[in-house]
Amino acid sequence: MTEKEIKNKRREFLKNIGRLIGYGTLGGLFAGFGRSLWPNILYEPPKRVRLIDPKNLAEGMNYFPEQRLFVFKRGGEVWAISAVCQHLGCTVNFVPFGEKIEKKILGKVIEEEWEFHCPCHGSKYTQEGDIYEGPAPRGLPHYPLEIDPATGYLVVDMSKEVKKDWRLKLS
């Protein structure tokens, strides 16, 4: 290698270091700017919420608009079904039939008193929140309920789901 070639090589090497520092700085800077847009703290309502004194629950459907949650009471048992459509997040409507009806859904005959229908894209859910028509990829989630020992109030935890036959017995 001639002296000139060595010089050229050194020059190329230094150039690359310069590029690395330049692009690295800019890249790091903008990565930092971008990162600032990912919130570290959310001032959102909690997932675990105190709802109501179970004594005041109506028999049948109770809607909690702030939580977008249906709480059902039947014969001393309560359970909670989300009102958030699993397709694209609209609030589903509670559609009562007024009486128990037999309906053939997905080849099976089931008894129902109500259903959930979504106004946005027409997803339809059974009484238990199972999807049977429309675009929603899954059924409505059921959330666990508990009684707050201090106040005796009903508490819902929307951070975890339970199976659809889950029930809380009120004493």
Binding site: W38, H87, L88, C118, P119, C120, H121, G134, P135, R138
Partner: protein, 411 residues
């Protein structure tokens, strides 16, 4: 003194009525607003029937939007507590507030339409082709144009949220949930778009900033590049017809006219026409404002703005279920299909190998097949829009527009 003032005026503004050829040429090169035009252009480039002036109309609408938008920024508060009230004030308390809002809204709707029609025009005239030119790279401008169409849609969409009424909230709920339905990265996209896990103040301020700074700035940069490229590409595609005719041995001489007053006159005409039309609509057609935004209940049916109705129709019918595997229609119809359609249209400019003669002419017979295929997709989109607009009723069911079912009061 008067003479001196006139000279200053002359120096600042172009002459509309040049005294000689020299002055006509200088008027263009020396004027900041005109220097992106060539001093002279072919008369055919200015034809009404070739370009339909849809690009100019889009640009004029954009400038109306910027001006009305800046005034609206003084009057609107991007806060969930006050946004709705400030729109109500615009409608009922601010002098001419209703007119500003209507103008902004109608210009926005018309801009979506104008940009889309501009895209159709460019396709049907083969205007992304280079013809005989060795310099032109018109495909690049087609790609830039497709991005501009996307930015226009994003601008409309981000503006939709701002009134914070039911219409706004549910349109944007669905829009952001479509982003969330992307596999793997959907939740992160939603998180940074909404600034959290639900639509609230963070989402409003983010959409506001996108709407008033980020997207307009992006659009302005791309638009400037779009205009600059027309000159780098040696003018509108229609001028290629002269080179083609000359190559065939025909003795055609394009009629060259000075940009001022020829182009300027038509631009002013188109601008005024567009402005008058927007004002006309704004005087007679009110902008809707629904009830304040509330996640507690969804209007039935909750319909997207007309330019997104075909997507709403798509997301409602494209959920894929294979055995236990389910792919949300939000992703298939809201992301995948539009991305494939948009992507295919964008790269088509590079794939189209029709002969040079098809450059800059409406419906050239050598492009018959591709024009038909393109029309087929356009008609599907238009058809789905009309279907969703008039034949979708409560719970997104299919009804005749005059036969919507009575719905029981929802508790």
């Amino acid at each position: 003194m008067k003479e001196r003032l006139y000279q200053v005026w002359r120096a600042l503004i172009w002459t509309f009525d040049p005294a000689d050829r020299g002055e006509a040429g200088k008027a263009v090169t020396r004027n900041f607003w005109l220097h992106w035009f060539p001093p002279r252009m072919t008369k055919e480039s200015l034809s009404w029937g070739y370009s339909l002036w849809l690009g100019t109309i889009s640009a004029v609408l954009f400038f109306i939007l910027v001006i009305t938008g800046i005034i609206l920024m003084f009057l609107y508060v991007p806060s969930v507590e006050r946004a709705y009230q400030s729109i109500k004030d615009l409608e009922y308390a601010v002098s001419f507030g209703w007119f500003l809002r209507n103008m902004h809204r109608w210009s926005a709707h018309m801009m979506v339409a104008a940009v889309f029609l501009h895209m159709l025009r460019v396709f049907y005239t083969g205007a992304y082709k280079n013809g005989m030119s060795h310099m032109a790279k018109r495909q690049i401008n087609w790609v830039v144009g497709m991005i501009l169409l996307g930015v226009t849609l994003l601008l409309s969409f981000s503006g939709y949220l701002l009134p914070w009424d039911q219409l706004a909230l549910w349109a944007v709920t669905v829009g952001t949930q479509i982003a969330r339905s992307v596999p793997f990265i959907g939740d992160e996209i939603y998180y940074v778009l909404a600034g959290g896990t639900r639509l609230d103040q963070n989402a409003l301020i983010r959409f506001y900033t996108l709407h008033v700074i980020f997207l307009p700035a992006l659009l302005l940069v791309l638009f400037s590049y779009h205009m600059w490229r027309i000159r780098k590409d040696e003018g509108l595609a229609i001028t290629e017809q002269f080179s083609i005719a000359r190559k065939k041995g025909e003795a055609v001489q394009p009629e060259m006219v000075f940009s001022t007053p020829w182009a300027v006159r038509r631009i002013v005409l188109v601008s005024l026409g567009t402005l008058v039309w927007v004002m006309f609509l704004s005087v007679f057609l009110k902008s809707p404002l629904e009830e304040p935004a509330s996640l507690e209940w969804t209007p039935n049916p909750a319909k997207a703005p007309w330019y997104f109705l075909w997507l709403q129709e798509l997301v409602a019918i494209t959920t894929i279920r294979i055995g236990g595997f389910t792919l949300n229609g939000g992703f298939v119809g809201g992301v995948l299909i539009p991305a494939i359609l948009g992507g295919a249209a964008t790269i088509w400019a590079f794939i189209d190998k029709s002969p040079a003669e098809a450059t800059g002419v409406w419906f050239h017979k050598s492009r018959l097949v591709q024009n038909l295929v393109f029309t087929f997709f356009v008609l599907i989109i238009v058809g789905m829009t009309i279907f969703a607009m008039y034949f979708r009723g409560p719970y997104w069911g299919i009804y005749w527009p005059w036969a919507w079912p009575e719905l029981p009061e929802i508790i």
